[in-house]
């Protein structure tokens, strides 16, 4: 990977992906809890989730619990793989620069 994944490489989306990646496979997280974790406003978080959903990285599930609407988000396999690749890309940069400095 020469360039970072543009979908993930945005501070709020990066945090969303990291928060979802920490959960067991296919485990969803409530919108409200994700908002606390990421520290974004409702509108901002909703827009970033839509971007991730359109990229096929997350799934959004809407239902009602005790007559209250609930939105839950879960990471899908494509998203998990893309996030792993993104982390690999970051690690490569850190390690390559460290090796370059050592060989000088």
């Amino acid at each position: 990977m020469d360039q970072p994944d543009a979908i993930i490489h945005q501070p709020v989306r990066l945090k969303i992906m990291a928060a979802l990646k920490a959960l067991p496979d296919r485990e969803p997280i409530d919108f409200a809890r994700l908002k606390t974790l990421v520290g974004a406003t409702d509108g901002n978080l909703g827009a970033h989730i839509s971007t991730l959903e359109q990229a096929g990285y997350v799934e959004v599930e809407k239902d009602f619990v005790a007559k209250k609407p609930r939105t839950r988000v879960r990471l899908v396999r494509t998203g998990r793989r893309a996030f792993d690749d993104y982390i690999g890309y970051l690690r490569e940069i850190v390690e390559a620069t460290a090796m370059g400095e050592q060989s000088r």
């Binding site: 360039q3 928060a19 990646k21 809890r33 982390i87 690690r91």
Partner: protein, 182 residues
């Protein structure tokens, strides 16, 4: 444009921090119903024991109800992949075997010792889970339960059972709310 090393390091730090917090939130959310259940069981069990010492026989029934409830909550809230994992049952069995062995080597001399031992054991488990998952709230819940038990045991021996019903059970229930609040 490719990232600089500093930018990549910052992003990795952000990822680690968010993953850790998310994992903690997840753990807290799943631990809180167990604290509610055991808080209620302690309040009933110790309360009955204080009001009518002969009702100490209710403990095995209450403990069994608590274990069944904990397994049910665990099975319901676990991700599909973890359901039916034999290690949960094996862990419960190992704990029972440990308690059986411990009491046969060092038999408790009175009912108060038994009543203090289990909360301290539970507190140890909470603290260990907290230490290994970096969950500060779990560590604090363990420390508070252990401290309250010791305060009641040494400081208020004549009211120890009432203390454990109100303060011990109450602390667990409040701990459950506290874990759920994140």
């Amino acid at each position: 444009m490719p990232l600089s090393r500093a930018e990549a390091q910052d992003a990795l730090r952000d990822i680690t921090r968010t993953e850790r917090t998310s994992a903690n939130f997840y753990g807290y959310r799943h631990a809180s119903p167990h604290l509610f259940v055991w808080g209620i069981i302690w309040a009933i069990g110790y309360g009955l024991n204080y009001a009518r010492p002969q009702w100490g026989a209710a403990w095995p029934v209450l403990a069994l109800a608590g274990i069944v409830a904990s397994f049910w909550i665990g099975a319901k809230s676990k991700p599909a992949a973890a359901r039916g994992d034999w290690r949960y049952a094996a862990t419960a069995l190992a704990i029972f075997a440990f308690i059986g062995a411990l009491f046969s080597v060092m038999p408790p001399r009175n009912w108060a010792q038994v009543s203090a031992f289990f909360p301290i054991l539970v507190a140890l488990f909470y603290s260990l889970i907290g230490i290994w998952t970096r969950g500060l709230r779990m560590v604090l819940a363990g420390v508070v339960v252990a401290a309250l038990t010791l305060i009641g045991f040494f400081g208020l021996p004549q009211y120890f059972l009432l203390w454990m019903a109100v303060v011990g059970g109450g602390a667990l229930i409040l701990g459950g709310f506290w874990l759920r609040s994140v």
